[in-house]
Protein backbone atom coordinates (compact mmCIF):
# COMPACT_ATOMS: atom_id res chain seq x y z
CA UNK A 1 0.00 0.00 0.00
CA UNK A 2 2.64 2.45 1.13
CA UNK A 3 4.73 1.32 -1.76
CA UNK A 4 1.93 2.18 -4.16
CA UNK A 5 1.58 5.74 -2.82
CA UNK A 6 5.33 6.14 -2.95
CA UNK A 7 5.43 5.19 -6.61
CA UNK A 8 2.48 7.49 -7.43
CA UNK A 9 4.18 10.33 -5.60
CA UNK A 10 7.55 9.87 -7.27
CA UNK A 11 6.04 9.54 -10.70
CA UNK A 12 3.86 12.64 -10.27
CA UNK A 13 6.30 14.85 -8.42
CA UNK A 14 8.09 16.34 -11.47
CA UNK A 15 4.70 17.01 -13.05
CA UNK A 16 3.27 18.62 -9.91
CA UNK A 17 6.51 20.56 -9.43
CA UNK A 18 5.94 22.16 -12.83
CA UNK A 19 2.44 23.07 -11.67
CA UNK A 20 3.76 24.51 -8.46
CA UNK A 21 6.26 26.66 -10.36
CA UNK A 22 3.42 28.11 -12.43
CA UNK A 23 1.38 28.71 -9.26
CA UNK A 24 4.36 30.36 -7.66
CA UNK A 25 5.05 32.48 -10.72
CA UNK A 26 1.49 33.70 -11.29
CA UNK A 27 0.96 34.44 -7.59
CA UNK A 28 4.25 36.32 -7.41
CA UNK A 29 3.40 38.44 -10.45
CA UNK A 30 -0.11 39.14 -9.14
CA UNK A 31 1.22 40.07 -5.70
CA UNK A 32 3.96 42.36 -7.02
CA UNK A 33 1.96 44.03 -9.81
CA UNK A 34 -1.26 44.08 -7.78
CA UNK A 35 0.51 45.62 -4.78
CA UNK A 36 2.09 48.36 -6.87
CA UNK A 37 -1.21 49.28 -8.53
CA UNK A 38 -3.07 48.87 -5.25
CA UNK A 39 -0.63 51.04 -3.32
CA UNK A 40 -0.99 53.83 -5.87
CA UNK A 41 -4.78 53.62 -5.79
CA UNK A 42 -4.85 53.38 -2.01
CA UNK A 43 -2.73 56.50 -1.61
CA UNK A 44 -4.93 58.46 -4.01
CA UNK A 45 -8.07 57.20 -2.24
CA UNK A 46 -6.74 58.39 1.12
CA UNK A 47 -6.07 61.88 -0.21
CA UNK A 48 -9.48 62.95 -1.50
CA UNK A 49 -8.33 64.05 -4.91
CA UNK A 50 -11.36 65.19 -6.91
CA UNK A 51 -12.54 62.83 -9.65
CA UNK A 52 -9.74 60.26 -9.14
CA UNK A 53 -10.86 59.30 -5.62
CA UNK A 54 -14.39 58.59 -6.81
CA UNK A 55 -13.24 56.79 -9.94
CA UNK A 56 -10.89 54.50 -8.03
CA UNK A 57 -13.64 53.92 -5.47
CA UNK A 58 -15.83 52.51 -8.23
CA UNK A 59 -12.94 50.30 -9.44
CA UNK A 60 -12.45 48.87 -5.96
CA UNK A 61 -16.10 48.31 -5.17
CA UNK A 62 -16.81 46.53 -8.46
CA UNK A 63 -13.80 44.24 -8.01
CA UNK A 64 -14.48 43.46 -4.38
CA UNK A 65 -18.21 43.05 -4.92
CA UNK A 66 -18.05 40.43 -7.68
CA UNK A 67 -16.71 36.85 -7.69
CA UNK A 68 -13.18 36.38 -8.97
CA UNK A 69 -14.36 33.60 -11.29
CA UNK A 70 -16.71 36.02 -13.04
CA UNK A 71 -13.91 38.59 -13.35
CA UNK A 72 -11.64 35.91 -14.78
CA UNK A 73 -14.25 35.04 -17.42
CA UNK A 74 -14.51 38.71 -18.36
CA UNK A 75 -10.74 38.94 -18.85
CA UNK A 76 -10.62 35.56 -20.60
CA UNK A 77 -13.73 35.50 -22.80
CA UNK A 78 -15.09 39.03 -23.07
CA UNK A 79 -12.17 41.42 -23.39
CA UNK A 80 -10.27 39.51 -26.12
CA UNK A 81 -13.45 39.53 -28.22
CA UNK A 82 -14.07 43.27 -28.05
CA UNK A 83 -12.06 43.78 -31.23
CA UNK A 84 -9.61 46.06 -29.44
CA UNK A 85 -6.26 44.76 -30.59
CA UNK A 86 -4.25 45.17 -27.39
CA UNK A 87 -6.93 43.31 -25.44
CA UNK A 88 -6.78 40.20 -27.64
CA UNK A 89 -4.38 38.47 -25.27
CA UNK A 90 -3.78 34.77 -24.75
CA UNK A 91 -5.25 32.84 -21.85
CA UNK A 92 -2.11 33.08 -19.74
CA UNK A 93 -1.98 36.86 -20.03
CA UNK A 94 -5.70 37.06 -19.28
CA UNK A 95 -5.18 35.05 -16.11
CA UNK A 96 -2.20 37.13 -14.98
CA UNK A 97 -4.00 40.42 -15.59
CA UNK A 98 -7.21 39.24 -13.91
CA UNK A 99 -5.41 38.11 -10.77
CA UNK A 100 -3.25 41.24 -10.59
CA UNK A 101 -6.29 43.49 -10.89
CA UNK A 102 -8.13 41.47 -8.27
CA UNK A 103 -5.15 41.74 -5.91
CA UNK A 104 -4.90 45.49 -6.43
CA UNK A 105 -8.46 46.04 -5.18
CA UNK A 106 -7.72 44.40 -1.83
CA UNK A 107 -4.32 46.02 -1.43
CA UNK A 108 -5.79 49.46 -2.20
CA UNK A 109 -8.32 49.20 0.63
CA UNK A 110 -5.64 48.04 3.09
CA UNK A 111 -3.32 50.91 2.16
CA UNK A 112 -6.11 53.45 2.39
CA UNK A 113 -7.27 52.17 5.77
CA UNK A 114 -3.70 52.12 7.11
CA UNK A 115 -3.03 55.69 6.00
CA UNK A 116 -6.27 56.86 7.55
CA UNK A 117 -5.47 55.02 10.78
CA UNK A 118 -2.36 57.11 11.40
CA UNK A 119 -3.50 59.73 13.93
CA UNK A 120 -4.38 63.10 12.39
CA UNK A 121 -2.07 64.87 14.80
CA UNK A 122 0.96 63.25 13.14
CA UNK A 123 0.29 64.83 9.81
CA UNK A 124 -0.80 68.06 11.48
CA UNK A 125 2.50 68.33 13.35
CA UNK A 126 4.37 67.75 10.10
CA UNK A 127 2.28 70.46 8.43
CA UNK A 128 2.98 72.90 11.24
CA UNK A 129 6.72 72.27 10.79
CA UNK A 130 6.47 73.34 7.16
CA UNK A 131 6.45 69.99 5.36
CA UNK A 132 4.51 69.83 2.12
CA UNK A 133 1.99 67.10 1.34
CA UNK A 134 4.52 64.75 -0.26
CA UNK A 135 7.01 65.18 2.60
CA UNK A 136 4.28 64.59 5.19
CA UNK A 137 3.24 61.36 3.54
CA UNK A 138 6.75 60.12 2.83
CA UNK A 139 8.49 60.91 6.12
CA UNK A 140 5.67 60.79 8.64
CA UNK A 141 2.54 58.98 7.47
CA UNK A 142 3.82 56.12 5.27
CA UNK A 143 6.37 54.71 7.72
CA UNK A 144 3.69 54.51 10.39
CA UNK A 145 1.03 53.18 8.02
CA UNK A 146 3.39 50.48 6.77
CA UNK A 147 3.38 48.73 10.13
CA UNK A 148 -0.39 48.58 10.08
CA UNK A 149 -0.50 46.92 6.67
CA UNK A 150 1.58 43.86 7.54
CA UNK A 151 -1.12 41.63 9.09
CA UNK A 152 -3.94 42.32 6.60
CA UNK A 153 -1.53 42.26 3.65
CA UNK A 154 -0.26 38.80 4.53
CA UNK A 155 -3.78 37.39 4.67
CA UNK A 156 -4.53 38.92 1.27
CA UNK A 157 -1.35 37.40 -0.14
CA UNK A 158 -2.30 33.97 1.14
CA UNK A 159 -5.81 34.41 -0.25
CA UNK A 160 -4.33 35.32 -3.64
CA UNK A 161 -2.04 32.28 -3.61
CA UNK A 162 -5.05 30.08 -2.97
CA UNK A 163 -7.10 31.88 -5.63
CA UNK A 164 -4.62 30.82 -8.29
CA UNK A 165 -6.35 27.42 -8.16
CA UNK A 166 -9.32 29.03 -9.92
CA UNK A 167 -7.07 29.71 -12.92
CA UNK A 168 -7.21 25.98 -13.67
CA UNK A 169 -10.64 26.51 -15.25
CA UNK A 170 -9.14 28.57 -18.06
CA UNK A 171 -6.42 26.02 -18.73
CA UNK A 172 -3.46 27.50 -16.87
CA UNK A 173 -1.14 24.60 -15.99
CA UNK A 174 -0.81 25.52 -12.37
CA UNK A 175 -0.81 23.14 -9.44
CA UNK A 176 -4.53 22.33 -9.31
CA UNK A 177 -4.73 21.83 -13.05
CA UNK A 178 -1.70 19.54 -13.00
CA UNK A 179 -3.34 17.62 -10.20
CA UNK A 180 -6.54 17.15 -12.20
CA UNK A 181 -4.54 15.86 -15.14
CA UNK A 182 -2.74 13.49 -12.79
CA UNK A 183 -6.08 12.16 -11.57
CA UNK A 184 -6.91 11.18 -15.14
CA UNK A 185 -3.83 9.01 -15.01
CA UNK A 186 -4.46 7.57 -11.52
CA UNK A 187 -8.27 7.84 -11.14
CA UNK A 188 -8.35 5.59 -8.08
CA UNK A 189 -5.97 7.81 -6.16
CA UNK A 190 -8.12 10.93 -6.39
CA UNK A 191 -8.21 11.44 -2.62
CA UNK A 192 -4.47 10.95 -2.27
CA UNK A 193 -3.63 13.29 -5.13
CA UNK A 194 -5.90 16.08 -3.86
CA UNK A 195 -4.35 15.58 -0.46
CA UNK A 196 -0.90 15.87 -1.98
CA UNK A 197 -1.87 19.09 -3.75
CA UNK A 198 -3.39 20.57 -0.60
CA UNK A 199 -0.18 19.76 1.23
CA UNK A 200 1.92 21.54 -1.42
CA UNK A 201 -0.32 24.65 -1.17
CA UNK A 202 0.10 24.52 2.58
CA UNK A 203 3.88 24.31 2.28
CA UNK A 204 3.73 27.52 0.22
CA UNK A 205 1.23 29.46 2.34
CA UNK A 206 2.45 28.58 5.81
CA UNK A 207 5.88 30.26 5.51
CA UNK A 208 4.14 33.39 4.20
CA UNK A 209 1.99 33.52 7.33
CA UNK A 210 5.00 32.84 9.57
CA UNK A 211 7.00 35.52 7.82
CA UNK A 212 4.13 37.97 8.34
CA UNK A 213 4.06 37.25 12.06
CA UNK A 214 7.79 37.73 12.30
CA UNK A 215 7.65 40.96 10.30
CA UNK A 216 4.75 42.23 12.38
CA UNK A 217 6.69 41.71 15.57
CA UNK A 218 9.80 43.31 14.13
CA UNK A 219 8.16 46.48 12.85
CA UNK A 220 6.01 46.71 15.98
CA UNK A 221 8.96 46.52 18.34
CA UNK A 222 9.48 50.23 18.94
CA UNK A 223 5.85 50.77 19.81
CA UNK A 224 5.30 47.85 22.10
CA UNK A 225 7.99 48.93 24.55
CA UNK A 226 6.07 51.02 27.02
CA UNK A 227 7.43 52.33 30.27
CA UNK A 228 4.23 53.84 31.65
Amino acid sequence: MLEHYWSVTTSLLPFLWKGFLETFYVSLVAIVVGSLIGALIGVVRSQRIPLLTGLFGLYIHVLRGTPFLVQLYVFYFVLPNTGISWLSWDSRTAAFVALSVYTSSYVAEIIKAAIEAVPRGQSEAATALGMNRIQRLWYVVFPQALKLTVPPMSSVYVMIIKSTAILSVVGISELTRQGEVSILRYPRDILFIYGLIAFIYFLYCYPVLRFARWAERRVGMARTVDLD
Partner: protein
Protein backbone atom coordinates in the same frame (compact mmCIF):
# COMPACT_ATOMS: atom_id res chain seq x y z
CA UNK B 1 5.94 100.50 23.18
CA UNK B 2 5.58 98.27 20.08
CA UNK B 3 5.62 99.47 16.52
CA UNK B 4 6.26 96.46 14.38
CA UNK B 5 3.40 93.92 14.18
CA UNK B 6 4.61 90.53 12.92
CA UNK B 7 1.05 89.21 12.90
CA UNK B 8 -2.02 91.24 12.13
CA UNK B 9 -5.49 89.75 12.03
CA UNK B 10 -8.17 91.91 10.48
CA UNK B 11 -11.86 91.12 10.85
CA UNK B 12 -11.68 87.38 10.28
CA UNK B 13 -14.73 85.17 10.60
CA UNK B 14 -15.16 81.45 10.28
CA UNK B 15 -18.20 79.22 10.32
CA UNK B 16 -18.06 75.45 10.73
CA UNK B 17 -20.83 73.71 8.83
CA UNK B 18 -21.93 70.10 9.17
CA UNK B 19 -21.54 67.88 6.13
CA UNK B 20 -24.88 68.76 4.57
CA UNK B 21 -25.12 72.29 5.82
CA UNK B 22 -27.92 71.52 8.25
CA UNK B 23 -26.19 73.14 11.16
CA UNK B 24 -23.61 75.88 11.36
CA UNK B 25 -21.41 77.06 14.16
CA UNK B 26 -19.77 80.45 14.13
CA UNK B 27 -16.32 79.68 15.50
CA UNK B 28 -14.74 83.06 14.84
CA UNK B 29 -16.78 86.22 14.64
CA UNK B 30 -15.08 89.38 13.37
CA UNK B 31 -11.75 88.88 15.14
CA UNK B 32 -9.05 91.53 14.91
CA UNK B 33 -5.72 91.59 16.73
CA UNK B 34 -2.04 92.27 16.32
CA UNK B 35 1.04 90.59 17.66
CA UNK B 36 4.23 92.61 17.94
CA UNK B 37 7.74 91.24 17.69
CA UNK B 38 8.85 89.93 21.06
CA UNK B 39 5.38 90.16 22.51
CA UNK B 40 3.68 87.42 24.53
CA UNK B 41 -0.04 87.29 23.84
CA UNK B 42 -2.14 85.01 26.02
CA UNK B 43 -5.58 83.96 24.81
CA UNK B 44 -8.00 82.65 27.40
CA UNK B 45 -11.66 81.73 27.38
CA UNK B 46 -14.08 78.88 28.04
CA UNK B 47 -13.86 75.75 25.89
CA UNK B 48 -15.60 76.21 22.57
CA UNK B 49 -14.92 79.93 22.59
CA UNK B 50 -12.79 79.70 19.45
CA UNK B 51 -9.38 80.37 21.00
CA UNK B 52 -7.74 77.25 19.58
CA UNK B 53 -9.36 77.84 16.21
CA UNK B 54 -8.00 81.39 16.21
CA UNK B 55 -4.50 80.17 17.06
CA UNK B 56 -4.65 77.56 14.30
CA UNK B 57 -5.62 80.13 11.71
CA UNK B 58 -2.33 81.95 12.39
CA UNK B 59 -0.30 79.18 10.73
CA UNK B 60 -3.08 78.27 8.31
CA UNK B 61 -3.83 74.91 9.87
CA UNK B 62 -7.35 76.27 9.88
CA UNK B 63 -8.83 78.34 7.07
CA UNK B 64 -11.09 81.34 7.54
CA UNK B 65 -14.05 82.60 5.54
CA UNK B 66 -13.51 86.33 5.45
CA UNK B 67 -11.08 88.97 6.63
CA UNK B 68 -7.32 89.09 6.32
CA UNK B 69 -4.32 87.71 8.20
CA UNK B 70 -0.82 89.07 7.58
CA UNK B 71 2.12 87.12 9.01
CA UNK B 72 5.65 88.36 8.58
CA UNK B 73 4.58 90.57 5.71
CA UNK B 74 2.56 88.06 3.67
CA UNK B 75 -1.16 87.45 3.46
CA UNK B 76 -2.29 83.94 4.39
CA UNK B 77 -5.31 84.00 2.10
CA UNK B 78 -3.21 85.07 -0.87
CA UNK B 79 -3.04 82.23 -3.39
CA UNK B 80 0.57 83.01 -4.23
CA UNK B 81 1.68 82.59 -0.62
CA UNK B 82 3.77 79.47 -0.01
CA UNK B 83 2.08 78.33 3.20
CA UNK B 84 4.59 75.55 3.86
CA UNK B 85 7.47 77.98 3.75
CA UNK B 86 5.60 80.34 6.06
CA UNK B 87 4.75 77.56 8.51
CA UNK B 88 8.45 76.75 8.87
CA UNK B 89 8.81 80.21 10.45
CA UNK B 90 6.01 79.56 12.94
CA UNK B 91 6.57 76.94 15.62
CA UNK B 92 3.55 75.21 17.08
CA UNK B 93 3.18 73.17 20.25
CA UNK B 94 0.09 71.00 20.56
CA UNK B 95 -1.96 69.85 23.50
CA UNK B 96 -1.31 66.21 22.59
CA UNK B 97 2.38 66.72 21.73
CA UNK B 98 2.10 64.90 18.39
CA UNK B 99 5.64 63.56 18.42
CA UNK B 100 6.35 61.36 15.41
CA UNK B 101 5.73 57.96 16.90
CA UNK B 102 8.10 56.05 14.65
CA UNK B 103 11.06 58.25 15.57
CA UNK B 104 13.14 58.66 18.70
CA UNK B 105 13.13 61.95 20.57
CA UNK B 106 16.38 62.93 18.84
CA UNK B 107 15.14 61.94 15.38
CA UNK B 108 11.95 63.94 15.95
CA UNK B 109 14.10 67.04 16.24
CA UNK B 110 16.46 66.04 13.42
CA UNK B 111 13.90 65.09 10.74
CA UNK B 112 12.23 68.46 10.07
CA UNK B 113 15.60 70.23 10.01
CA UNK B 114 16.80 67.97 7.22
CA UNK B 115 13.52 67.85 5.29
CA UNK B 116 12.40 71.46 5.61
CA UNK B 117 15.53 73.46 6.44
CA UNK B 118 17.79 71.29 4.24
CA UNK B 119 20.47 71.08 6.89
CA UNK B 120 23.10 68.37 6.75
CA UNK B 121 22.56 65.42 9.05
CA UNK B 122 25.55 66.29 11.22
CA UNK B 123 24.43 69.89 11.59
CA UNK B 124 20.86 68.80 12.39
CA UNK B 125 22.15 66.29 14.94
CA UNK B 126 24.26 68.80 16.83
CA UNK B 127 21.41 71.33 16.83
CA UNK B 128 19.02 68.68 18.07
CA UNK B 129 21.36 67.59 20.83
CA UNK B 130 21.88 71.10 22.15
CA UNK B 131 18.13 71.82 22.02
CA UNK B 132 17.29 68.61 23.88
CA UNK B 133 19.77 69.74 26.50
CA UNK B 134 18.16 73.15 26.65
CA UNK B 135 14.72 71.63 27.33
CA UNK B 136 16.24 69.22 29.85
CA UNK B 137 15.62 65.91 28.11
CA UNK B 138 19.02 65.06 26.60
CA UNK B 139 19.21 61.86 28.65
CA UNK B 140 16.12 60.55 26.85
CA UNK B 141 17.29 61.36 23.32
CA UNK B 142 17.05 57.77 22.11
CA UNK B 143 13.64 57.00 23.56
CA UNK B 144 10.47 56.71 21.50
CA UNK B 145 7.45 58.79 22.43
CA UNK B 146 5.70 55.73 23.87
CA UNK B 147 8.59 55.50 26.34
CA UNK B 148 8.28 59.11 27.50
CA UNK B 149 5.90 60.74 29.95
CA UNK B 150 3.62 63.53 28.76
CA UNK B 151 5.86 66.21 30.18
CA UNK B 152 8.91 64.67 28.52
CA UNK B 153 7.11 64.41 25.20
CA UNK B 154 6.12 68.06 25.38
CA UNK B 155 9.74 69.06 26.03
CA UNK B 156 10.79 67.19 22.90
CA UNK B 157 7.95 68.81 20.96
CA UNK B 158 9.16 72.26 22.05
CA UNK B 159 12.73 71.39 21.02
CA UNK B 160 11.44 70.18 17.65
CA UNK B 161 9.62 73.45 17.05
CA UNK B 162 12.62 75.53 18.14
CA UNK B 163 14.92 73.59 15.82
CA UNK B 164 13.30 75.37 12.88
CA UNK B 165 14.42 78.76 14.27
CA UNK B 166 10.86 80.07 14.28
CA UNK B 167 10.05 83.75 14.40
CA UNK B 168 6.84 83.05 16.30
CA UNK B 169 5.80 80.26 18.65
CA UNK B 170 2.18 79.17 19.05
CA UNK B 171 1.17 77.17 22.11
CA UNK B 172 -2.18 75.42 21.92
CA UNK B 173 -3.04 74.41 25.50
CA UNK B 174 0.45 72.97 25.83
CA UNK B 175 -0.04 71.93 29.45
CA UNK B 176 -3.69 70.82 29.42
CA UNK B 177 -2.97 67.13 28.84
CA UNK B 178 -0.20 66.92 31.45
CA UNK B 179 -0.17 65.49 34.93
CA UNK B 180 -0.24 68.38 37.42
CA UNK B 181 3.36 67.87 38.53
CA UNK B 182 4.57 68.14 34.92
CA UNK B 183 2.88 71.48 34.23
CA UNK B 184 5.35 73.63 36.10
CA UNK B 185 8.36 72.43 34.12
CA UNK B 186 6.74 73.19 30.77
CA UNK B 187 5.59 76.62 31.95
CA UNK B 188 9.16 77.31 33.08
CA UNK B 189 10.40 76.51 29.58
CA UNK B 190 7.80 78.86 28.07
CA UNK B 191 8.74 81.54 30.58
CA UNK B 192 12.37 81.12 29.53
CA UNK B 193 11.49 81.52 25.86
CA UNK B 194 9.52 84.68 26.61
CA UNK B 195 12.49 86.05 28.53
CA UNK B 196 14.72 85.41 25.50
CA UNK B 197 12.42 87.66 23.50
CA UNK B 198 10.48 85.01 21.53
CA UNK B 199 7.24 86.22 19.99
CA UNK B 200 4.54 84.00 21.43
CA UNK B 201 0.80 83.42 21.18
CA UNK B 202 -0.37 81.17 23.99
CA UNK B 203 -3.76 79.55 24.49
CA UNK B 204 -3.89 78.40 28.08
CA UNK B 205 -5.92 77.89 31.22
CA UNK B 206 -2.94 78.69 33.44
CA UNK B 207 -3.93 82.05 34.90
CA UNK B 208 -0.79 82.31 37.00
CA UNK B 209 1.32 82.05 33.86
CA UNK B 210 -0.91 84.55 32.05
CA UNK B 211 -0.65 87.08 34.84
CA UNK B 212 3.11 86.74 35.14
CA UNK B 213 4.32 86.33 31.55
CA UNK B 214 1.73 87.90 29.25
CA UNK B 215 2.27 91.32 27.77
CA UNK B 216 -1.35 91.29 26.72
CA UNK B 217 -4.35 89.09 27.43
CA UNK B 218 -7.32 88.43 25.20
CA UNK B 219 -10.51 86.93 26.57
CA UNK B 220 -12.70 85.15 24.03
CA UNK B 221 -16.25 83.87 24.25
CA UNK B 222 -18.52 82.48 21.53
CA UNK B 223 -16.08 83.30 18.77
CA UNK B 224 -15.58 86.95 19.73
CA UNK B 225 -12.95 88.89 21.58
CA UNK B 226 -14.78 90.10 24.65
CA UNK B 227 -11.97 91.85 26.39
CA UNK B 228 -8.36 92.74 25.78
CA UNK B 229 -5.86 94.24 28.16
CA UNK B 230 -2.65 94.06 30.13
CA UNK B 231 -2.51 91.42 32.88
CA UNK B 232 -2.76 94.16 35.49
CA UNK B 233 -5.99 95.67 34.22
CA UNK B 234 -7.39 92.36 33.05
CA UNK B 235 -7.24 90.53 36.36
CA UNK B 236 -7.88 93.42 38.72
CA UNK B 237 -10.55 95.36 36.91
CA UNK B 238 -12.16 93.46 34.02
CA UNK B 239 -14.65 95.73 32.33
CA UNK B 240 -17.09 93.11 31.02
CA UNK B 241 -19.56 91.06 33.00
CA UNK B 242 -18.70 87.91 30.98
CA UNK B 243 -15.00 88.26 31.83
CA UNK B 244 -15.78 88.73 35.50
CA UNK B 245 -18.01 85.64 35.51
CA UNK B 246 -15.26 83.59 33.85
CA UNK B 247 -12.56 84.77 36.22
CA UNK B 248 -14.80 84.10 39.21
CA UNK B 249 -15.25 80.56 37.99
CA UNK B 250 -11.60 79.70 37.64
CA UNK B 251 -9.70 81.84 40.13
Amino acid sequence: MFANPIVSVEHISKTFRSAHGRSAHRALDDISLTLEKGEVLVIIGPSGSGKSTLLRTLNALESFDSGRIMVDGVSLADRSTDLNRLRAEIGMVFQNFNLFQHKTALENVVLPQIVVRKRSRSEALSRAQSLLEKVGIADRANHYSSQLSGGQQQRVAIARALAMDPKIMLFDEATSALDPEMVGGILDLMRGLAAEGMTMAVVTHEMGFAREVADRIIFMDAGRIVEEGTPGSFFTSPSHERTRAFLDQIL
